[in-house]
Assembly symmetry: C2
Homo-oligomer: 266 residues x 2
């Protein structure tokens, strides 16, 4: 089916999810929307996050997308059930894929979750984990400085290490054996997070897992593309396209060609 | 004159300006708008900052304000001249008051400016300083982590000190003798900034100076209030009011009573 996959995020972080979808389904067209004028979502209230998420979804629906991927943990935490309930198009978020993986790999049933303040406050990860297995222990920690640190590019710095030690200290003390990176920016800080948590604590990065879920759903519904030509990728943002193209490169792993700015997109 | 003073900011930082205006002109009614749904502005592009600033101004104009105070450095940097040109109501920003003070107190003509990425990129401070005295040297440094650190409340922490040392090192090396705090959040980090820069480098915090400018303008134009009753303060935000009331307290220095959320405010 020739319709594109729609992906939205509060900004550039969701490009890590787009990247894995491109790798996993190289024939699919993709329309990506990053709400760079209103980023971040992780410090905002539930109602605002829900409102923005619905607006982003409405924008993507204009492209007759066959599936919507909510590539933002904060959006997924607060708006996924609403989007699933209210819209016809299938919607996949980033919470469940990460949770399923964590539940699989945990050895002693002690799962840690890190994310933005809003994601952690929502309790979405904890709820999803307990739904699979109520006996599992979940320990959560908001890490509000991780996104600005990742955007500053201080990926291997002493200062970032000190901050990570401070945020992750309590999780480590609680004997967490698996850590979910509940924000699309955090994989950039993987080295430091792993150094603090210890090499034996696997870090669950949901980008790849989300791509697997998308493929599975499209296959099941007979919606996979049989496109023979090169896939078309379109990127839209609510703020300046140039900055997105430049800083997005390290998230997407390749050059971002066409980025367009959207005005009054709902 | 009974009309209120209108103040807007990208979020809560502008409350430091509101606080000084309250102290300096205790008879004036105030309407404050904080664009907490779209905060921060300091990472956004000029066009987006200008658009948001105009929208905020249009919202405040509904209250028939007699003056508009742009209490956000990023907004002031990009939109002040447009707002001044296009609207009838007098507009005061936070750049010029700080600049006038810095030019007064500098001993060796080496002025440092710190602010958000957008403020520093705009060159607004440098331009304003050079207009007064082209012989003055200006050294600028964006400090993107200062706002998240201030909001995290790490005001006296080792980590904040290390980050400040890193940001301010080059300014110190250049022999800056006066430092403009070009963001309303930075006064919260005054102790640490001062520790890094040395006690002999005065820090220019424009909040008080802006209040002085407002009073001067209102006096000159015969617009001061002769209100005998207690002044009325109204606070509006675009995101959740509760969070604003709680975290705003440390910026305003007193309890924030009535905060209302505005929907689709333009």
């Amino acid at each position: 089916m020739k319709k594109p996959i729609g992906i939205f995020d509060s900004g550039i972080g969701g490009l890590t999810v787009a990247r894995e979808i491109m790798k996993c389904m190289p024939r699919e067209d993709i329309v990506y929307f990053g709400d760079t004028a209103r980023v971040p979502y992780g410090t905002k209230s539930p109602n605002t996050v829900i409102k923005f998420s619905i607006e982003n979804m409405l924008f993507l629906l204009r492209f007759r997308v066959k599936i919507i991927v909510v590539a933002c943990n904060t959006s997924s935490s607060y708006s996924l059930s609403i989007l699933e309930n209210d819209f016809k198009v299938p919607v996949i978020g980033v919470i469940n894929p990460g949770v399923e993986e964590a539940v699989k790999v945990t050895r002693r049933g002690r799962i840690g979750v890190i994310g933005t303040s809003a994601t952690i406050r929502s309790g979405a990860y904890e709820k999803a984990i307990k739904e699979i297995n109520p006996a599992l222990k979940v320990f959560s920690q908001a890490c509000p400085l991780f996104v600005p640190l990742a955007e500053e590019g201080w990926l291997k710095d002493r200062v970032t290490y000190d901050i990570a030690k401070r945020y992750l200290g309590s999780l480590k003390a609680k004997g967490v054996d698996t850590l979910i990176l509940g924000c699309t920016h955090y994989p950039l800080l993987k080295d430091i997070i792993s150094k603090v948590m210890g090499r034996r604590v696997p870090l669950v990065d949901s980008a790849k897992l989300v791509a697997g879920h998308v493929k599975e759903l499209l296959t099941r519904e007979g919606l996979l593309s049989d496109n023979k030509a090169a896939p078309r990728y379109a990127f839209y943002v609510s703020d300046e396209p140039k900055k997105f193209a430049v800083s997005g490169k390290k998230f997407l792993g390749e050059k971002i060609r066409s980025v367009k700015k959207v005005n009054g997109y709902v």
